[in-house]
Structures are given as C-alpha cells and as structure tokens.
Symmetry: C2
Subunit: 340 residues, 2 copies
Amino acid sequence: LLNDFRKDYLLDRWVVIATHRRRRPTDFAKKEAATQTVDKTTCPFSPGNERMTPPAVLVYLKNKKGNVVKEKDTNGVRHKDWLIRCVPNLYSAFSPPEKRESLVSGKAVGHHEVLIESPHHEEHPAVARISQLIHVVNGYVDRLKTLSAKPYVKYVSIFRNHGLDAGASLSHAHSQIIATPIMPIILKDELEASREFHEAHGKCVFCDILEREKNGPRFIWENENFASFAPWAGVHPFEFWILPKQHQPTLLDMQPKAIEDLAKALKTCLGGLKSLLNDPPYNYGFHISPNAERSMSYHWHLEVYPKLSIWAGFEKSTGMYINVVPPEDAAQNLKEAVEA
Amino acid sequence: LLNDFRKDYLLDRWVVIATHRRRRPTDFAKKEAATQTVDKTTCPFSPGNERMTPPAVLVYLKNKKGNVVKEKDTNGVRHKDWLIRCVPNLYSAFSPPEKRESLVSGKAVGHHEVLIESPHHEEHPAVARISQLIHVVNGYVDRLKTLSAKPYVKYVSIFRNHGLDAGASLSHAHSQIIATPIMPIILKDELEASREFHEAHGKCVFCDILEREKNGPRFIWENENFASFAPWAGVHPFEFWILPKQHQPTLLDMQPKAIEDLAKALKTCLGGLKSLLNDPPYNYGFHISPNAERSMSYHWHLEVYPKLSIWAGFEKSTGMYINVVPPEDAAQNLKEAVEA
C-alpha cells in the first residue's frame, strides 16, 4: 500500500506518486467550461485596440506579395492588420535599465513582454491554424535572439498561462517573455546536472531520457522532429514535456521544418489536453540553454503544467510534491486523447 | 521605475518586489467571506463522527480532576469528549513501512496525520481560545517527538491549510503532519546555509536576522518569547514569519511559557491577517531542525503564506517569483491590524 516516491531526472526534487489515491480524468473535468466574458471592444490585445498597449517591439505583417514582414511600432504609430504582435507588458516585473542604472544591483533589470499570438481573440494553440502557430514560434525565436543578446540579460523565460486559475488575467491568446538579469535556479540546477551527466557518460542526459521514454509507458506522441511524454517524476497531474528529438541547446537553431513540427506538436498535444480535461487551465514554460556556446550539454524542451491541483502547506514549506495522477496514467489518457 | 529584486536571507531564491505595480489590502479582500457549507453530521472531524476516521494515534482528554491526559484509540474503540485528536490521514501520501518493506527504496515510507485542533468546527487559530491553542501546540510537539524518533523518518513537516483556495478540502480546524524518509530540499538548503553562516560569523543567522528586523520597517509584533515580521524577500503577498526570540533548533525544547506565547502569537498574527484581508486562505509550515544535536546552528520558525496570488508559468518554470505587495507595506498593514 505504499505510494511511489520519485526523484526528478535532474533536479533534487521529489514527488509522491499517489498510486493509492490516484484520480481519473473525470475527477478533474470542470462541470462547465470556463466562460470568461469577452468584449472585443475592451480587449487590449484585439485588433483596433492597439493604442491600449505600449508600442510593439515586434509586429509580423503580410505584405502585398503575401510574404511576412517584420516591423515595430515607431513614432507613436501602431501597426494594424498584424499576424502577431509583441509589446512590453503594461505591468512589467522587469524593466530595461536607464543608462545610469545599468550597473545598479538589487533592481529587476530586464524585459517583460507579451506576445499576442493572433488577431483572433480565442485562437489558442489547441485550435489555432498551424500557419498561425508557426508565426508564434518564429516570434518566440526572434524575441529570444534579440533579448538574449543584451549585456544585462542572463536568461530569457518564454511561457504561457491559459485560464484564470492558471494566472491568465486576459483570455486573448498570448504568451509572455521575461528576460532576467540572473540565471533562474531551476535552469541553473538543470544545466549543472546535464553538464555533470555529459562529463560522466559522454552524452546528453535528455537524449538519454528520450531514448528511455520512447515507446515506454509514459510516451504520448511524436512527429519527425518532436516527441512528447509524461515525465517520470512529474509534479503536476497530467504534466507532459515536448522535446526536440535532435540534440539542440536552444530554440535559436531550429530549421523551418522543425518550427513547423513544433507548431504541430503544440496544437496536437495541447489539443489532447483540452479535449481530455474540458479545456483545463495550464501553464507552459520553455527550458533553454542561455548560451549555446557554453552549454552544449543542455537540451531545450517545453514543460506543460496543467493546473488541476493546489500547492499547499506541505509543498510550499518543503519543496516536495504529491501528484495524484501517476505519469503512466496521464500518458495513457493523453495518448488516447491525442490520437482520437 | 525599476522594481526591487531581492534574494532570500538563505536560499538561492529571488523575488521581484513589484513596487511599481504594488497592490493594497483592499485589492485582495474577497467580495464575500468564504462560505463553505458545514454539516456537522457529515464532518469527519466533528465530535460524534470519530468512526469516520482511522483510530486516533493521540487524543487529549480532560480527566475528572481537570488535568489533560494523553491517550490513543485502541481495540476499535474511539475516544469521545476529546480536546484535540490526531489521526492517520485517510488518504495518506506517506505510509509506515511493513516489516519487509522497511528498506524498500523508491517508496513513500513515512507518516501522514491530521491533527484535529478542536471539537468546535470553526475554532481556527484566529478565533480560538488560548487554552485550546496550547493543546494544539502541545499536540504538534508530541507528534514531532514520536515521529522523529522513528528510524526511517528524516524530517517531520507540520503545516496547516486554511480555506478551499489554499488546499483545505475540509473546513473543520485541522493541521497536518507528514513524516518523510528524506530531508526536504528547502530545509536541506536552509540548514546548510545556516551552518555556513555560523562557521563564518560565529552566530546563528536567524538570531542575526531577528536583530536586524527588530523595530525595522518589516517588523509586525512580539511578545516575551516570539517575534513576527515580513521577510525581506517574501514571495507571497502579506507573507510573515514567527520566530522564537531565543535560539532553538527545534520545537521540542519549548518551556510551558514559550508554548503559551506561541499560542498567543498564532492567535494574534493570524487574527490580524484574518481581519486585514477578510479571512483569506493561507498555508503555514514549520521549519525545524530535524536533529537538535547535529544542527545547533539552525533556528526553527513558522512561515505563513497567504494565498492571494497564483504561481504561473514564470514562477513554475524558473523558480523565481513576483510579489506585488512589498514586505514593508505588508508589515505596516499587518501591524495596524494586529494592534487594532
């Protein structure tokens, strides 16, 4: 009657896999789908309301020949008829340094941006056109390239919050990008562990994990360039990861076919999650090597965290977790949902 | 316009203190007080329903002379007329080993108990009688002593969840106690950092913190044995800590006067939180040295985390936090509420 107690592949993070109080998908499915009131006249991310945000740092537009052109808002003018639009967050956690502040310690120097994923209010990855998701991924790559080149930026976090319970205060499809002046602890620990693994075994730990998870009980889905599985010691019910099959430290090296395959992986896997659990709230976050030269032993990936449980006193005061859905069950259910 | 970026006293944990998007208490106060339906006939923690839980491992009873007697349920009989009652969690995350399992790795060996804090359904710390809270604290100490003596137990986590949004599925006043087979990462890191500080400076880091916070902008309240303040790099809005003023690695060494003072600190500080924010959900967790002999450099304390924000993609994928209430504001408001 003992539950499993599992350690993350890399982190010193332990989780009780509550096999004996396991829950099924129907235990989580909301009684009614979330109905956030949408008023396009007041949504700051909808076309026509470009004035409600700061000027865009990046806009994708289609020119007369049908090609995508990249612009930014200048001279107080806001571009219209955009495909995607990246703007500074109106409530920035991190802000660029003023000249004389560039060396001030103790200040949240960096960037905090919103990538508006579509002019269509509800075009979330699960239902978006692949062509649109390709723009989103290209937008991530463009901003990652620009922000990580800044001297005061040590890491660029690209993430997405979906649903009120997962912290999305606006329902219009959007991601966020935060550039920070230090390496985040989770990434620092993962980078160090993968470096140590590489030194000890002469190979990438994530390539090794992929090999082991392939066709195993936690495997969910794959296409030519990407694979998805539920991690051995996932801390969230129905957590899954998406990894490039080829070893790549960062998003910056993706070829167009890989970008298309990532767009398909997002749509397929997030679509499976949506249909399995009645459009649950979730967060996702990219884990990226901040410097391809120095961290060749790291392998970028995307972690998806459905928001179906509450971290309470135990989790918050110890850093240990309890997951009531075994990753093997999660994978089996997600696999069926993805294939349906 | 830059926000503060602060590191925890001990942990490698960073938080943006969003001074430029700061929120006030009224931004958090719920429109209506939480109304969890209470049906004492079905509440498994209410008197008369003792059969709805496993047999108690500890019961406090008052004998005819008015003294507190400590018992446990035996032979299928459930004690009645109890003051507090500690029972195994019906949905245990951790379970005691069977004989032949005692050395099995990869299993969640340990204990998971519920301490029912009062026969009165709603007697939460903010409104409880001091005499009752003294029983609760004594109950913590008794279970800590018993559980930490077991050979397979490395740490005992004592915590409380209040309110549905903080993960309390039952509203009857209760705490939880989890004994784990490994040291939790947060405690491991804190113990190591306080040992290093002690070696470098010849004193306890928490005694040092107390000295620095005393009468400063983050100080909230004190009595003879305990002090409360909002931590410099708190990650939760209105987070506060309660520390013994005298250096103590663990709860086990408290004298009766200190136990009474802790009961008063709980009632006062949690009462201030309740009145300030209209009975918000919260979690608290004790941080304790697991072995008084070996970790004299550690200083036990209680951390209280109001549940007023959502950890989203950024927090979950990086381990960095954004706190929209500066600890100085939190302390000022809590101080006023506590003194009112």
